[in-house]
Symmetry: C2
Subunit: 355 residues, 2 copies
């Protein structure tokens, strides 16, 4: 493996924008740090990675990403503990997944050493942007996109891999109620649902707008063939608590293999919470809601960590979940965050220190 | 309706690049004309449309299109007849479809007068780029993309509608054989398959690469639920000739409502060719190929017009179609192109002159 420290081309910003930022009133994903990571692919290989001042890109109007959505992304967070140490949470998972997504979108694999060296150097340069305090974090957005000029509907020969970072407080404000999808779909068998492909997200905006008009904040997608089985929400995997049992859908070629999702499953098993990974039918949840057995629903995802879902709607009926004392959602959120912020033992080796 | 001529902001290029172009050796979608059309959406409305020299865009790395594929496009062509008159083919269809695609992607509707005034002015300014001669054309690419900065997974508040133009010869060179998809899918029921959404295309590149390794140029997609019914190819709708009967799949929320497709159906009916718009099963085509009843297959699309398909593969078997004298593909291609190039009567009012 090459020594990357010397290979990384670093261009420092002359001044920092940090004093202009109100860290107590952050809108998610709006403000970016002083630097960004950029690595171009051309002539069959990834070129010298660069860290440079955050700023606009110059792109030809025929760049493939504008026309054919050949782009994938990841979502990660960096945390700062009380001793000013910087931590990532299971970053290998994100690295592996972006390459898995890239493969499905015919994008060349990105080298592991570039990813980690670039990311960690960037975090150290912009470390002042990672605010201390439980709930504060730096949201990290790695992404790859096809930059080659030309509107031929074929894979590009040129790409740009970037990492940009945005300081974040909690992702969701307010209460979340979801609609179980009856008509619209997120992914097909044999499609790109399992990838964090750009087009998977834009395709959800219109159905989600319609759901919002009915008073819901998100959609829980159902399988495209029958709409009988619950899959995932827009930016979250979804868990159901029936009695004291936790149930969630298996990952598939339609469902994203969420890092938070798999961490919840591991924590549940570790704490002797009965967890079943299997198909979850709409009917089962309706029946459980009516009988009172449905105790909780929550979403899991990097941006949101764990997001309690207060109710759901299906075919014009709305269901409210009971308020609960010993909430699983709260337990998983606290447990995960304590690990992420270096406030609890890291039994599974999930924390990764940025040194 | 406002007088747009005065509203359009026109910035002419100082010099033309046209002398640098070898019109006899064009690669599809690689070279663009001297000008481009651009109209920004912000603060809830489309701003003054601009025609300006073709050139790079300055985009924030957090622009929504890079992350969430909130983008749609169209494909059109302009033709020049022997008297130097410029023609479009059914442009209202493309205009209506881009707004239909936009609606599904939660992109604001684009005004009709902006579209036509912008497009026609652009074509007149760059008319030297439309080469005379049967088969030559100017490929027109209208597209809309979310430009707003910020990685929140929600519809953007800012968009850019553009039209760029590229001189074209025939889209396909060489022979085309297709693979019937057995595992991968293009679209889900309730998804965005009917829209010309950017993400629909990038998602096809990887399966198409695999098919290419097996010796096929394109995939004919099958329904995601069963893979029993044939839908459309990457950039074409698909027709089958069984005996003297023409068969094609109906449009749906998975299948693009192709302008060339519907023109072929109209021409077939007009020429008393028996045409059936109905589900086409893989088994039916396999049986017809084996019995010798499958006479032809061809694709239809703006870029390709009509593209004969010489053979297909399914589950490891390859089938070659017979050579045929009275080819439907040739008939439709000639008939369509003569209408497009103002060399035949325009019985259905499909031609639109740019004056």
């Amino acid at each position: 493996m090459k020594n990357l420290t010397s290979m990384l081309d670093i261009q420092k910003a002359d001044t920092s924008k940090i004093d202009q930022v109100d860290f107590n009133n952050l809108v998610f994903g709006q403000v970016f740090t002083d630097h960004m990571f950029e690595c171009d692919y051309k002539n069959g290989s990834w070129q010298t990675p660069v860290i440079k001042p955050y700023g606009n890109l110059s792109m030809p109007p025929s760049a493939r990403v504008f026309h054919y959505g050949q782009a994938v992304f990841e979502g990660m967070k960096a945390y700062k503990d009380q001793d000013d140490q910087i931590w990532l949470f299971r970053p290998e998972e994100n690295f592996n997944r972006i390459n898995k997504s890239s493969e499905r979108l015919a994008i060349p694999e990105f080298p592991k050493e570039y990813f980690f060296e670039g990311l960690e150097t960037l975090l150290k340069m912009d470390s002042a942007w990672i605010q201390k305090g439980f709930g504060n974090s730096l949201y990290i957005r790695p992404f790859v996109m096809a930059t080659e000029a030309g509107v031929s509907a074929s894979p590009a020969g040129e790409y740009k891999f970037m990492i940009i970072c945005s300081p974040a407080q909690a992702y969701y404000s307010g209460e979340v109620r979801v609609k179980f999808s009856e008509k619209f779909s997120r992914a097909a068998d044999g499609g790109v649902g399992y990838a964090k492909a750009a087009g998977n997200y834009g395709a959800q905006f219109y159905p989600t707008n319609l759901a919002k008009e009915e008073g819901f904040q998100q959609i829980v997608w159902t399988d495209a063939s029958t709409h009988e089985y619950l899959e995932e929400a827009g930016t979250m995997n979804v868990f159901f608590r029936i009695g004291d049992k936790l149930v969630t859908a298996p990952t598939s070629d339609r469902i994203l293999d969420g890092v938070t999702r798999k961490s919840v499953i591991t924590l549940a098993e570790d704490h002797h919470i009965d967890v079943e990974v299997r198909r979850v039918s709409v009917q089962e949840i309706l029946d459980a809601a009516k009988s009172g057995e449905l105790k909780e629903m929550f979403g899991s995802g990097t941006a949101t960590v764990i997001n309690p879902i207060l109710g759901f709607g299906f075919k014009g009926e709305k269901y409210e979940l009971p308020k609960i004392e010993d909430s699983y959602a709260k337990f998983f959120k606290d447990t995960l965050m304590k690990i992420q912020y270096n406030e609890a033992e890291d039994k599974f080796g999930w924390r990764h220190q940025v040194k």
